[in-house]
Symmetry: C2
Subunit: 351 residues, 2 copies
């Protein structure tokens, strides 16, 4: 019998590379050869098809204990969120979601009734966004639960928004507010610790309703895609905010070969996010939640300056900065006029 | 904090329903509303699209310890097999595979080099079947490895083969041979037990090369799809053999509202499969491997009698029986002329 373990020598730990570097390394030698493959790995979705209407496809996995904690995640919310996350990737191509396929792997710890709750959440999100469940796979796992959602959408060729199209002087826009999902997570983690110490503890979560909903039941911004179409705006670039504003801005700058400048006081932050931060022991800054928190599932996009008038009065869209020249860094300017270089996780001041 | 565990009372264990009954129960209340959804849950793939060329999509998950055993599964083979399984579902719609998306969840036990081996196998299968890797997701798991492959293919409207189109008197055909993948698994499981008892044991696997390859590195039958197109045959129904011939015949009968009659001595079984069965202690019948073994990834399909002449001399296609009227059972006739009713797992003699 062959020995299939991998020797310690010459072993590179997964943690030694970041997620994006790992994906680059694993997919580096793959080439796309089919003429129906318009865009492969490297954006929110793959873009496929022959005609003027393109198909966009994305897949996302959530693993128990890594992406969700059953201690504070109702299964109905989990089902809703798993679908919402994938639909958000469809929206990030400026596309309309149409279908999903859902694969789950679950241990015997879960009952049929528990899975029915999960699927009730999946159905709720499908109904809300007019999306059809068209397939999937149900299997056993040795431990915990895993959910994979593949989402499919459509978009006309002219309307596709890649990460790579931002041009110098374009305006940087973001929908909704940022950091609130992370604030919700902070509250849930805090209450979990208290509950574990005292199972009779009854947390008062009511005053955190907004941030909790943002974390537990996010909404993909299909309304923004619709609004942009109505206003006849095609974003020059777009991405959804799943890993935090800093990381997403860096993706756009890298793929569009440009720099960017955003203004700290323009970043939309809800008052409940600010309040949660002030309650946290380690002096958490609300802007840190926005930059590095993630899971907001808002849309970050750039538009040409000529489109400014069309959206300037929209309350759901915030202009937070502009694109700068190739070779320039991605920076945030504070109200005190300090320039901070953005990093994918965390950020450091320079000069 | 809400208590999210599910009460024991009123709890239905997952094992109480079969996989297919569970999927039915979970997806029962979903309705397809998009006009681009041609076929949702219930076939090898979903069928999508507006034009004459349709898109077919399928998703499949493999979980370590459930679908594969790292003790005898080289990662390169695992990558190849995960892709091959999904492409087989595309072929089962009489479609041509074009793209895949691969999501993996892995624990820290795996090194970057191990994942490179996995992706080398994925690439080998992509190259062999002219398929593009266009997306995916790489994430952490708390234990073991999970691989999800979504495959996308295309097929013209007239050529789509559903499970539901078989008509009375149609001929039942199967490609390649059946039961050999299961025979390969039996050998690997036997050698594993011996190896665990004596780690110095060096198994001789050479004489089992065919059945081992069938289990570890199956091939989707894209060649059969191509051949049928060349011969201008559109199967009246089609499915791939992933769960064993009996289970697949029952799917076709249920969805086509018909019965079937197959002849035991027509079922193609390789001599190595027969030899492995004779070596096994519990008097294993080769036909049991074919009926209930699964993982052969051959194509099972029905054709109209008028197409008989076009394929009768093809060595890769075996005519094993015919479709009978609605309400008739799915049966196998033995060489002794005994009629056996087929069941999804196992089978019982009647009369």
């Amino acid at each position: 019998m062959e020995k299939l373990e991998y020797a310690q020598e010459g072993r590179t730990e997964l943690g030694a590379l970041g997620e994006f570097a790992l994906i680059d390394r694993l997919t580096d030698e793959f080439e796309c050869k089919n003429k129906t493959t318009i865009k492969g790995v490297g954006d929110d979705c793959a873009v496929l098809g022959k005609g003027k209407t393109k198909t966009v496809v994305t897949t996302d996995t959530m693993v128990e204990g890594v992406h969700f904690d059953m201690m504070y995640t109702p299964l109905k919310h989990l089902g809703y969120k798993a679908v919402a996350m994938s639909l958000s990737d469809i929206c990030a191509m400026n596309a309309t979601p149409r279908q999903i396929l859902v694969s789950i792997a679950v241990s015997n710890r879960y009952s049929v009734e528990a899975l029915e709750d999960l699927y009730a959440g999946i159905r709720l999100c499908c109904d809300r966004y007019d999306v059809d469940l068209v397939g999937g796979d149900t299997t056993t796992s040795r431990a915990g639960m895993m959910i994979n959602v593949t989402a499919i959408g459509e978009v006309t060729e002219e309307a596709i928004a890649y990460r790579s199209g931002a041009k110098m002087h374009d305006l940087i826009c973001v929908s909704g507010d940022l950091g609130s999902a992370y604030a919700g997570l902070l509250i849930l983690e805090r209450e979990k610790v208290t509950y574990q110490a005292d199972p009779n503890f009854k947390p008062d979560l009511e005053s955190y309703d907004y941030v909790l909903e943002r974390f537990l039941k996010p909404e993909p911004r299909a309304d923004i895609v619709k609004l942009l179409a109505e206003k006849e705006i095609v974003p020059t670039s777009m991405i959804d905010v799943s890993d935090g504003l800093a990381s997403e801005l860096l993706h756009i700058c890298k793929q569009s070969h440009c720099g960017c400048e955003v203004y700290e006081d323009r970043i939309p932050i809800d008052y409940q996010t600010t309040r949660v931060c002030s309650e946290m022991s380690q002096n958490m800054l609300p802007v840190s939640c926005a930059l590095n928190g993630g899971e907001d599932y808002e849309l970050l996009f750039t538009i040409s300056q000529k489109d400014y008038e069309k959206i300037k009065d929209n309350e759901e869209i915030h202009i937070i900065g502009h694109i700068t020249e190739e070779g320039a860094p991605a920076v945030m300017v504070t109200p005190q006029n300090t320039t901070i270089t953005l990093q994918a996780q965390g950020w450091t001041a320079h000069e």
